[in-house]
C-alpha cells in the first residue's frame, strides 16, 4: 500500500531524473562540439602551415630547376635568370613574393626591386643559402619547417673533382 504523498514524490523525482538526463545530453553535446571544433581547427591549421611551407619550398626549387642560372643575393632574396627575363623571389613581411623583370640585368637597374612583387605564399621565415653548387631553401610557417636542396643551375656539375 502506498503512503499518502508518495505518488507525488515519485512524479517529482521522475521529472528531476528526466531533466538531469536532458542536462547530461546538452552538456555532452557541448563537449563533443567543442572537442570536434578544436580537432578540426588543429587539423586544418596543421594542413595550412604544412602546405604553405612545403609549397613555398617546392615552388622555389622547381623555379631554380627551370631557370638557366640562379644567384643568391641575400638570405631572403634569390635571382633567377632566363633568356629575356629575370625573376626575383624574396621574403618580406610574412610572405614570399615573386617579381618579374623583362630584359637582362633589368633587376639591378631598379631602385627598389624587392617591392611590388606578387604575393605567393604566407611563411614565417624563408632562408636561402648557397653551398658547393647547391642551393638550400628552408621555409617555416607556424612551427612547420621544410628544407630542400637543389642544384644551383641547369647542367651544374662538380663531379669532375671526384677521385
Amino acid at each position: 500500500m502506498n503512503r499518502p504523498g508518495s505518488g507525488r514524490l515519485a512524479e517529482t523525482v521522475s521529472s528531476a531524473a528526466s531533466m538531469t538526463l536532458f542536462l547530461i545530453f546538452s552538456v555532452c553535446c557541448l563537449i563533443i562540439i567543442a572537442v570536434a571544433s578544436s580537432a578540426y581547427g588543429r587539423i586544418s591549421g596543421n594542413y595550412d602551415s604544412t602546405f604553405n611551407s612545403a609549397a613555398a619550398v617546392r615552388y622555389i626549387t622547381n623555379k631554380i630547376r627551370a631557370s638557366e642560372s640562379a644567384e643568391v643575393i641575400s638570405e631572403s632574396e634569390l635571382l633567377l635568370t632566363n633568356s629575356g627575363y629575370e625573376t626575383l623571389i624574396y621574403y618580406d613581411g610574412g610572405a614570399v613574393f615573386e617579381r618579374l623583370f623583362a630584359g637582362a640585368d633589368s633587376m639591378k637597374n631598379e631602385d627598389s626591386p624587392n617591392a611590388g612583387g606578387e604575393r605567393m605564399f604566407g611563411a614565417e621565415s624563408l632562408v636561402i643559402e648557397e653551398t658547393d653548387g647547391l642551393i638550400k631553401v628552408t621555409a617555416e610557417d607556424s612551427g612547420h619547417s621544410f628544407t630542400a636542396y637543389c642544384r644551383s643551375c641547369r647542367g651544374s656539375n662538380r663531379r669532375g673533382t671526384e677521385k
Binding site: 502506498n2 508518495s6 505518488g7 514524490l9 515519485a10 512524479e11 523525482v13 521522475s14 531524473a17 528526466s18 538526463l21 536532458f22 547530461i24 545530453f25 555532452c28 553535446c29 563533443i32 572537442v35 570536434a36 580537432a39 578540426y40 588543429r42 587539423i43 596543421n46 594542413y47 604544412t50 612545403a54 619550398v57 653551398t131 658547393d132 653548387g133 647547391l134 612547420h144 621544410f146 628544407t147 630542400a148 636542396y149 637543389c150 642544384r151 651544374s156 656539375n157 662538380r158 663531379r159 669532375g160 673533382t161 671526384e162 677521385k163
Partner: protein, 168 residues
C-alpha cells in the same frame, strides 16, 4: 519499505519523456563515438601526410646532392651534418662497387640513433666502364616494422675523361 522512485508511475504509464531521453542519449553516444573516431583518423592521416611529405623532401634532397657530388658520404654529410654514419662497402664483380647506409630518423627526418621512428636506407651502386662510371643511388624509407614507405632512385654519370682528369 518500498522505494518511491519508480520507472512506472502509479498510473501504470511509462514516463515517455524519460524513455525518449534514454533513447536519445544512446543514439548520441553511438554518433559521438563514430564522430570522434573519424576525427582521430583524420588527425592520424594528417600526421602521416606530413611525415610522407618530409620523407619526400629528404629523399629528393639526397638525390639532388648525390647527383651533384656523386658520393654517398658527402650526401649524408650535407643532409645530416658531419657524424659517424656507418657505410657498408662491397666490391662487385665486373669492376663496380656497392655501398649501403641505414640511418635511424625521427618522424621529422632528423638523425636520431636513440629513438628511431623510421629508417632511411641509401644504397649506392656503381658500374664502371671504359667510357665512365654510372652511379645509382636508391633512397628508401622504412618504418620500424620494415614496411616500405617511400622510395626514390637517382643517378650520377661521371665520364672517363673527367675521372682521369681528377685522378691527375
Amino acid at each position: 519499505m518500498k522505494s518511491p522512485i519508480k520507472a512506472v508511475p502509479a498510473g501504470g504509464r511509462l514516463n515517455l519523456f524519460f524513455m525518449e531521453m534514454i533513447i536519445v542519449l544512446m543514439f548520441f553516444s553511438i554518433a559521438s563515438a563514430v564522430i570522434l573516431n573519424a576525427f582521430a583518423a583524420s588527425g592520424r592521416l594528417s600526421r602521416e601526410s606530413e611525415r610522407l611529405e618530409r620523407m619526400s623532401f629528404c629523399a629528393q634532397s639526397a638525390a639532388e646532392i648525390f647527383s651533384e657530388s656523386g658520393s654517398l658520404s658527402q650526401t649524408l654529410e650535407e643532409l645530416f651534418g658531419s657524424g659517424s654514419y656507418e657505410i657498408l662497402n662491397a666490391d662487385l664483380e665486373g669492376g663496380g662497387y656497392a655501398a649501403e647506409a641505414k640511418l635511424p630518423l625521427t618522424g621529422d627526418c632528423e638523425y636520431s640513433p636513440q629513438s628511431p621512428e623510421i629508417f632511411m636506407i641509401l644504397i649506392e651502386t656503381a658500374e664502371k666502364s671504359d667510357s665512365g662510371t654510372l652511379k645509382i643511388l636508391s633512397v628508401k624509407f622504412e618504418n620500424t616494422d620494415n614496411e616500405e614507405l617511400y622510395r626514390i632512385t637517382s643517378g650520377a654519370y661521371i665520364p672517363a675523361e673527367r675521372r682521369s682528369d681528377a685522378n691527375e
